[in-house]
């Protein structure tokens, strides 16, 4: 047995590596294909497009996080989130149009989302209505309510502060406090400075956002430190691990973080939306991996009966998952309204499907019990890159949907096949 133990810790197995990181590899390949597209070389990697990618997909990250928790409980999905996004946004926009305080509005929107989630969770967890049906009902009902609130018309947002915090306009970026604080830096970041303009590029050097770059740098260092800590503590405990694999993934991710913040710094800096996304992803990555309720989500999805007999109140676990996605739908409503500077009665249609697709592309099991926030992030980014890439290379809007469908199918197929080989 000790020999077996050794083979697990030693060596780098390419097969295992590719299996584990299939979707990351797919993401890289897809990005390269779009970046090398004849006539559109490098366009998708332009700072403006990259910033747009994040801003446009904010709601996907937020909703997919909530969806992942539901899926973990046993492949349950929430079809109502698109309608809930629209409804919370409709209430919020109407409130602000009537002159309500912005913070109050934000709180009300989140509370409404949470209340809707808890309401649907009640039917699912306590009455045991199948999640699919309970949320299908919600999808119809809250679309209807949105129309009622909006009277069928669009409502615009005039509140500058709201738009700055949750929107996508020129002001919705973290200001470059470093360069504002040290004006003399302007004389360093000039086109004439051969070293910097060579490094950053002629077009971007004068406006280069130093704060953004620093945030990226700190994030990358923190990530590496966390990983090193994890590897060392696992080593201390004698947990088997593939060290080369861990090093490769750590390096790739931190380089990616640095590269993205560099690109963002070349444009307008660090978008506000990204803060909300990062916050939500961070919190939920923690909840799913480190807390008891996170563990219960996985356990219920893996074997509900065994979990109940272990003294876990499984109904509350379902309730938590659905109340939680309601809350996140409220947040997604805020971001959607902020980006669109208002709300239309048709906004949010199909959002639920984007969220579901991201989870499944990211490796969540359709039967529940397995799936990670990190996988879901890759899934969402992959979808976003494909969307953006197709717009850039000029694929017809109808065919874009066809491609999305095919990608979902292929991704899940890979997942199923790789799991089958393991057995």
């Amino acid at each position: 047995m000790s020999e077996q133990k050794k083979t697990l810790t030693q060596g780098f197995k390419p097969g295992e590596f590719f299996q584990k990181y299939t979707m990351i590899i797919a993401l890289v390949v897809v990005t390269i294909v779009f970046a090398l597209w004849p006539g559109k070389q490098g366009l998708i990697l332009q700072p403006a497009n990259l910033t747009g990618l994040i801003a446009e997909n904010g709601y996907v990250f937020i909703l997919a996080t909530g969806m992942l928790l539901c899926i973990l409980t046993g492949g349950n999905i929430d079809l109502s989130v698109g309608s809930v996004v629209c409804f919370t946004a409709a209430v919020g926009c109407t409130m602000m149009a009537a002159g309500a305080n912005m913070w109050l509005t934000v709180l009300v929107m989140l509370a409404i989302g949470l209340a809707i989630g808890a309401f649907q969770g009640f039917w699912i967890a306590k009455i045991r209505v199948p999640a699919f049906i309970a949320t299908l009902a919600g999808m119809y009902a809250f679309r209807g309510f949105s129309n009622v609130v909006l009277n069928g018309y669009r409502v615009d947002i005039a509140n500058e502060q709201f738009l700055m915090l949750f929107g996508n306009g020129k002001s919705s970026y973290i200001p470059d406090v470093i360069r504002q604080g040290i004006p003399s830096l302007d004389t360093v970041f000039t086109k004439d400075n051969a070293f910097l303009s060579g490094l950053i590029g002629q077009n971007f050097v004068t406006k280069f956002n130093l704060t953004c770059m620093c945030i990226g740098l700190i994030a990358a260092i923190a990530f590496v430190a966390l990983k090193v800590h994890k590897i060392l503590s696992q080593k201390k405990l004698g947990i088997s691990q593939s060290i080369p694999g861990q090093i490769i993934s750590t390096v790739v991710i931190s380089v990616l973080v640095l590269w993205v913040s560099f690109k963002l710094a070349c444009y307008r800096g660090f978008p506000m939306v990204l803060i909300w996304i990062a916050l939500v992803l961070g919190i939920y990555a923690y909840i799913t991996t480190k807390t008891a309720i996170g563990r219960h989500l996985y356990a219920v999805g893996g074997n509900e009966k065994a979990t109940a007999l272990s003294g876990v109140k499984t109904r509350n676990v379902f309730w938590f998952a659905y109340a939680n996605i309601g809350l996140l739908a409220g947040l997604a409503g805020i971001l959607t309204a902020g980006r669109a500077k208002g709300i239309d009665p048709v906004y949010g249609e199909g959002y639920e499907m984007d969220a579901i697709a991201s989870c499944f592309i990211g490796g969540a099991s359709a039967y529940g019990g397995t799936g990670k926030v990190s996988g879901m992030i890759i899934g969402a980014i992959l979808m976003g890159v494909i969307n953006k890439g197709m717009i850039i290379v000029g694929v017809d809007a109808n065919y874009q949907k066809v491609v999305k469908g095919i990608v979902l199918l292929i991704a899940v197929m890979f997942d199923v096949l790789s799991k089958r080989q393991k057995r």
């Binding site: 697990l8 807390t291 996985y298 074997n303 065994a306 007999l309 272990s310 003294g311 109140k313």
Partner: protein, 514 residues
């Protein structure tokens, strides 16, 4: 010498990293019952999967010679065409469908576009009569008991025109009466010329029914024993082949037995069936357990043992409870909550480890801590290092064979899964352990280790309730025995007065009285 119907020659099958079968040879004569025995994970099921084409030709080495022909099966259909039919351990019937529909599932009677229902049901009835099942083939499978369902499986195999019937642990979910009936059915098939291979853990069945016994250990054939001598082959003889040593004592000796005061007591405990509330599944049961005592509950399948244990454990089964539960002399208020039961230091180790016990898609570590996450977390945040240390501790203590506690439980053998289940409940630190069939479907070696764990628990002052349908186990392990039949406790005796005969007699008497 009779004709050899099946010969498997030098079968070698490798899975990534594991050699499951290594040069296995098996010869089965026409018209005999051939038993295949071996510990869990020895490779019996793998061998049968090779034979039936579940692992297609080309994924293994060696030859299958059936009826004089070298066979290259690429799927189950190929082998079934030749009359090789396998009946799996887990019943594969659709509960909502009728018996007839189940029997011809995938093998429908009639035209391609129109099933001939009259023919289906009349044929089905014919085969049901052959297996001695007196039910109409038009009733739903979920309405008949497990024993009858097993007969339906056999009728289904017969409907496929079986010539070589493979039964993978056919009696594992049957009570003794049904098991005996099934074995007798096999003997009557043998008279009609059917060839059968039976895989089983129950060695008394082997010596009763088998003509030849092939022992497999660690993926290789150890020996083939002939069971035609004057005396039937003794169980000890077979065990010796299976584990490679002679087990002189199947039950470890209890040391420093110190039985203390009564810890848990139930009084006039009555529970009703959750779906048919007029039916009592536990009827006016009174019993107690003392500190450091192992109390056996023996009863046939369906006697209400599991229902009794689960109803004590936070009323996790049944409705309309009445009676009193006392722990340390204190009345415990009835409430429907497993968490409450755990708080009162009761643990229920289920008989159905895959269905009710373990989260197969999660690691050993996660399963070990599941019932007591509070102990390794602070403000509901789990301390990963602590959790790992706990899992390692129990892995050592219970000798769970695995390269790492990060291993998924679904990948472990039955015996090791059972140990993980025990680890989970031991970590919950209970005082009263309700063990429901803790050695079901696991091999002799692992059984012995589980018995040692039970003894250690009792020596540490825990109260152990051991529920089992294996009489020798109850007799060998308990200090005191309750006998249960038809939802009632019908007898109680100290272990030193109990014998197989007087326990069975008690059950028979109560049956007649009712």
């Amino acid at each position: 010498m009779a004709k050899i119907l099946l010969e498997m020659k030098n079968i070698t099958k490798t899975f990534p990293g594991v050699k499951a079968l290594d040069n296995v040879n098996l010869q089965v004569e026409e018209g005999e019952i051939h038993a295949l025995v071996g510990e869990n994970g020895a490779g019996k099921s793998t061998l049968m999967n090779v034979l039936s084409g579940i692992y297609p030709h080309g994924t293994y080495e060696g030859d299958i010679i059936y009826d004089g022909q070298v066979c290259k099966f690429s799927n189950i259909k190929d082998s079934e065409k030749l009359g090789i039919v396998i009946i799996h351990q887990e019943l594969a019937l659709v509960p909502e469908m009728t018996i007839g529909e189940n029997m011809y599932l995938g093998n429908e009677c009639g035209h391609k576009f129109a099933i001939n229902w009259n023919k289906t049901y009349s044929e089905a009835d014919k085969y049901l009569k052959m297996v001695g099942l007196e039910e109409s083939s038009k009733i739903q499978v979920k309405t008949i008991g497990t024993g009858k369902q097993q007969l339906v499986e056999i009728a289904k195999a017969l409907a496929k025109k079986a010539r070589l019937l493979i039964l993978d642990e056919p009696t594992s979910s049957l009570n003794e009466e049904d098991s005996r009936a099934l074995l007798d059915l096999m003997l009557s098939f043998k008279k009609q010329g059917m060839t059968m291979i039976i895989i089983t853990h129950k060695l008394n069945e082997v010596s009763y029914v088998a003509d030849k016994i092939t022992v497999i250990r660690d993926g290789t054939t150890i020996e083939t024993i002939d069971n035609h001598g004057k005396e039937p082959v003794s169980e000890e003889r077979i065990i010796k082949g299976m584990v490679g040593r002679e087990i002189t004592n199947r039950f470890p000796k209890r040391e420093n037995v110190k039985i203390g005061d009564i810890r848990m007591e139930i009084d006039h405990w009555t529970v009703h069936h959750p779906l048919y509330p007029e039916r009592k599944v536990v009827d006016d049961v009174s019993m107690y357990v003392r500190q450091g005592e192992v109390v056996g509950i023996y009863g046939l399948m369906g006697a209400g043992r599991t229902e009794l244990a689960m109803s004590i454990f936070g009323q996790s089964y049944g409705v309309n409870f009445s009676g009193e539960l006392k722990i340390d002399g204190q009345h415990v208020k009835l409430r429907k909550s497993e968490a409450d039961a755990i708080k009162h230091k009761i643990a229920y180790v289920t008989e159905d480890r895959k269905g009710n016990g373990l989260v197969l898609s999660q690691s050993i570590k996660v399963n070990t801590s599941l019932a007591n996450l509070g102990a390794i977390s602070k403000n509901t945040v789990i301390d990963g290092d602590k959790e790992y240390a706990v899992a390692e501790e129990y892995r050592d203590k219970l000798k769970i064979k695995t390269p790492s506690v990060e291993q998924l439980v679904g990948n472990l053998s039955g015996g090791n899964q059972q140990k993980v289940l025990l680890a989970k409940w031991m970590f919950a630190e209970p005082d009263i352990l309700l063990l429901d069939e803790p050695t079901r479907g696991i091999d002799v070696g692992a059984k012995y280790e589980i018995y040692c764990i039970i003894n250690d628990l009792a020596a540490a002052g825990k109260c152990v309730v051991l529920i089992s349908s294996e009489l020798p186990e109850v007799l060998g392990m308990s200090d005191r025995i309750y006998i249960m039949n038809e939802a009632k406790i019908i007898g109680e005796m100290p272990a030193n007065q109990a014998t197989q005969e007087n326990i069975m007699a008690a059950i028979l008497r109560s049956g007649r009285g009712a």
